[in-house]
């Protein structure tokens, strides 16, 4: 079959469109990322007494101290008891942060639940934590502004391919700020001072093995074996993840190298990520391969307010380029926008619970299907719980919803140093 066309005008238009797309894309992406960083820093710098004064040089010292204690120092004795003690010793969330504050109470919780959806920070206002309340209100307002600006600009530009990435990033940042400020308000008035857990700083190895159930109306697979491992060497890390169909020939392999170029403490850092993912659907006769690059980070909310110690937000922004291979036919290129937003809290010694949004449209969960107009735009949502019941062993459960439901349970293993 031959496809020809009288396309001189559109060809000229396409040539113009493709003249410098990536320069503007990269520039605007950088602007969006910088805006996000500035917004969080502004929140941190809002009146916070001692914490604000101490945030800075001391945090680096604390981080260095923590790093030295866990990574670079002489290997401890081989006695397991000493190792266990080193593992279980909670890492400082922020050595500079204010002492934890107890804002719990029935009334604050009720306010956070009833008034909170409209006024983020309502719980803290009722608890007398006015400064934190205003910060959360500011975060809510900023979130609304960013969302409206992002979505408005997307609509006004007709979702132009040149501006979609930064504008979608801005909108996602706004939604994330809006959602996490509500959850943070609730967290601050529900949990005890200091939270209910502590992070650990860069374990030498964190490994996971388990099984995942997939409910997908389109594909036949139902069960996957899942293995995942991440190892740190200084600030460098390498993560490898594999999914293997148990009842179907389906394999997904993903590898990510990351460098942690900013680290304030165990729960406040920014990383640069480079990696790749390959997903093979043998029976359906196609495969996808993408190379991906992203900037990701975690912010301990203890830097924002003393009542929020033990909670954190995650964010990631990046791009993936790759292609689809149709067996015995050909390969075609594709790209993806990578955005991830999460709110979480630490549980126990290095465990955590997170609620997240992931903009990926590949993988098993892929993008959300919805009734009405908006189906297909969003990625998937999920929640994950990790809990260590010993210095080395733990369990994890995960649930994701997108184009399919994914439910997983795993066993966790970690070593703090080699």
């Amino acid at each position: 079959m031959v496809a020809t066309g009288l396309r001189s005008r559109q060809r000229a238009a396409k040539d113009w469109r493709r003249s410098k797309p990536h320069a503007s894309l990269a520039h605007m992406s950088l602007l969006a990322w910088r805006s996000a960083a500035v917004a969080w820093i502004l929140l941190i710098l809002l009146p916070h007494g001692a914490a604000r004064a101490q945030f800075g040089a001391n945090s680096d010292e604390a981080a260095r101290a923590a790093t030295t204690a866990t990574m670079d120092g002489p290997a401890p004795s081989s006695e397991s008891a000493a190792r266990a003690a080193a593992v279980s010793a909670p890492q400082p969330l922020a050595a500079n942060a204010s002492p934890p504050v107890d804002a719990r109470g029935g009334l604050p919780v009720a306010a956070a639940l009833v008034l909170g959806p409209a006024v983020h920070g309502a719980g803290h206002f009722v608890a007398g934590q006015t400064a934190t309340g205003w910060k959360l209100v500011a975060a809510e307002g900023l979130g609304v502004l960013a969302t409206v600006a992002g979505l408005g600009a997307l609509a006004a530009t007709g979702a132009s391919e040149k501006t979609t990435a930064p504008l979608a990033g801005l909108a996602a940042f706004g939604v994330g700020l809006f959602g996490t400020s509500f959850l943070a308000d609730l967290y601050g008035v529900v949990t005890p001072p200091g939270g209910i857990g502590q992070p650990v700083l860069r374990p030498a190895l964190l490994a996971e093995a388990g099984i995942q159930a997939v409910i997908d109306p389109v594909f036949d697979y139902n069960a996957l074996a899942h293995v995942n491992g991440r190892t740190f060497l200084g600030r460098h890390s390498l993560a490898l993840e594999g999914h293997f169909g148990v009842d179907h020939s389906n394999q997904r392999l993903r590898g990510i190298y990351a460098y942690r170029f900013i680290e304030c403490d165990a729960a406040t850092y920014i990383e640069a990520e480079l990696g790749g993912v390959h997903h093979r659907y043998a029976l359906e006769q196609f495969a996808m391969t993408f190379a991906e690059a992203a900037v990701s980070g975690r912010l301990s909310l203890g830097h924002v307010a003393p009542t929020l110690q033990g909670a954190f937000v995650d964010g990631a922004f990046g791009l993936a380029f790759g292609g689809h291979r149709y067996f015995d036919r050909l390969t075609e290129s594709d790209s993806m926008l990578l955005i991830r937003i999460a709110f979480g809290l630490f549980i126990g010694d290095g465990g955590s619970w997170t609620l997240y949004y992931d903009h990926r449209h590949d993988g098993y969960a892929a993008g959300l299907k919805m009734f009405g107009l908006g189906s297909g735009v969003l990625g998937h949502v999920g929640t994950a719980l990790q809990y260590f019941f010993s210095p080395q062993w733990g369990v994890a459960v995960r649930a994701e919803t997108g184009s399919a439901h994914v439910l997983g349970a795993s066993v966790l293993f970690r070593r703090m140093r080699w």
Partner: protein
């Protein structure tokens, strides 16, 4: 015990939620073209027309294919007023009852696409055939494709005027987003504007038809997913307005792909399975489902795919199949692309299995 039951209900609701967003529309598709009332039963073959009205003496159909075959079963003899809207201008109606041709009277058409007939319907089963005389002649012909009118319904006549000026245009295909929200008044307005088009418009729905109800569109214009053959060329329209295709529709698609395997076969849907700009993802919710669909189309030798949803024009390939995005019906245009309102014209030669495409700019 009650607590466990509630937990089970919540889990079941979560597990089933949001995965079957297109399934109900597939079930509605299966019911299109069927009606029974006042001693009359209507069955339109392949659901190729929506039954807009059925009384003891009148039947109104909205055609979504160039040719129709309608089975009527009457409990008692009746004088039936038949109206077929969105009809091929040169289509002719014949009626068979027990292998005998029935006499019928055609009222002079006020509009080329609005056919009215009077039929003295005997008791029993009568089969109506509505088709163009040259339907079986495999020869080159021309059709147009457009999508994404949405809020620009006030200016859609600009497109129709240009289409009416085009010689040899046999029909128009519409790849969804007729309206802004899919409300009944908006669908009525779209239908009203179509009266000026001198050829029929066969369409599928887009995500903007789902803002008010899941089946408003079907009550007006019939199936979202269907297949027809014209002059030896196969046409498949798919409902992927929810960024996915219902499992039932995949089953139908397999059959349609088999039918068109050796012939010219083109497929139309609203969302591209894969956007030409993956970062934007104006596409299906799952990259894997997109690949699954495209693999099916490629293996069946589909020759052309045309999409809407993205408000620009683009020409690319997906799974090796020539693909066009033609979202220039007037909805908020994509900026910086210098395309504007437009529609696509396709000349097909089913014998040589060749096609030529041209973009017609309105602005």
């Amino acid at each position: 015990m009650v607590k466990h039951v509630w937990l089970g209900v919540v889990c079941a609701a979560w597990l089933s939620a949001c995965l079957d967003v297109a399934d109900e529309r597939a079930r509605v598709d299966a019911r299109v073209g069927r009606a029974e009332r006042a001693g009359l039963r209507v069955r339109v073959r392949d659901g190729a027309a929506a039954v807009r009205e059925l009384t003891a003496t009148s039947l109104q159909l909205w055609a979504s294919a160039p040719q129709l075959e309608v089975e009527l079963r009457a409990d008692a003899p009746t004088s039936l007023q038949l109206r077929i809207q969105n009809a091929m201008p040169d289509a002719v109606l014949t009626a068979d009852h027990d292998d005998n041709a029935l006499a019928l009277t055609e009222t002079e058409r006020e509009r080329r696409t609005d056919a009215r007939y009077s039929i003295e319907l005997p008791a029993g089963t009568t089969t109506l055939h509505f088709r163009v005389p040259d339907d079986a002649v495999v020869e080159p012909f021309r059709f147009a494709v457009f999508a994404d009118v949405q809020e620009a319904i006030d200016t859609v006549q600009d497109l129709y005027t240009r289409m009416n000026e085009m010689p040899m245009l046999r029909f128009v295909l519409m790849s969804g987003d007729l309206t802004q929200q899919g409300t009944v008044p908006q669908l009525q307005r779209f239908q009203q504007e179509l009266r000026e088009l001198r050829v029929p418009c066969f369409m599928t729905l887009g995500n903007h038809e789902l803002g008010d109800s899941e089946d408003n569109y079907h009550r007006f214009f019939g199936r979202g997913s269907y297949h027809f053959v014209f002059k030896g060329a196969h046409f498949t329209l798919l409902d992927d307005a929810s960024a996915t295709v219902a499992p039932q529709t995949y089953d139908w698609l397999d059959g349609w792909l088999d039918q068109g395997r050796e012939a010219f076969h083109s497929v139309y849907m609203h969302l591209p399975p894969l956007d030409s700009s993956g970062i934007r993802n104006g596409a299906m919710a799952s990259r894997a489902e997109a690949d699954l669909l495209l693999s099916k189309l490629a293996r069946a030798g589909v020759d052309l795919t045309v999409y809407g949803h993205v408000h620009t024009y683009d020409a690319y390939t997906n799974a090796g199949i020539p693909a066009f995005i033609t979202g220039g019906g007037g909805a908020i245009p994509e900026r910086f692309d210098h395309v504007g309102r437009h529609f696509l014209v396709v000349d097909v030669d089913p014998t040589a299995q060749q096609l030529r495409t041209a973009i017609v700019h309105i602005d």
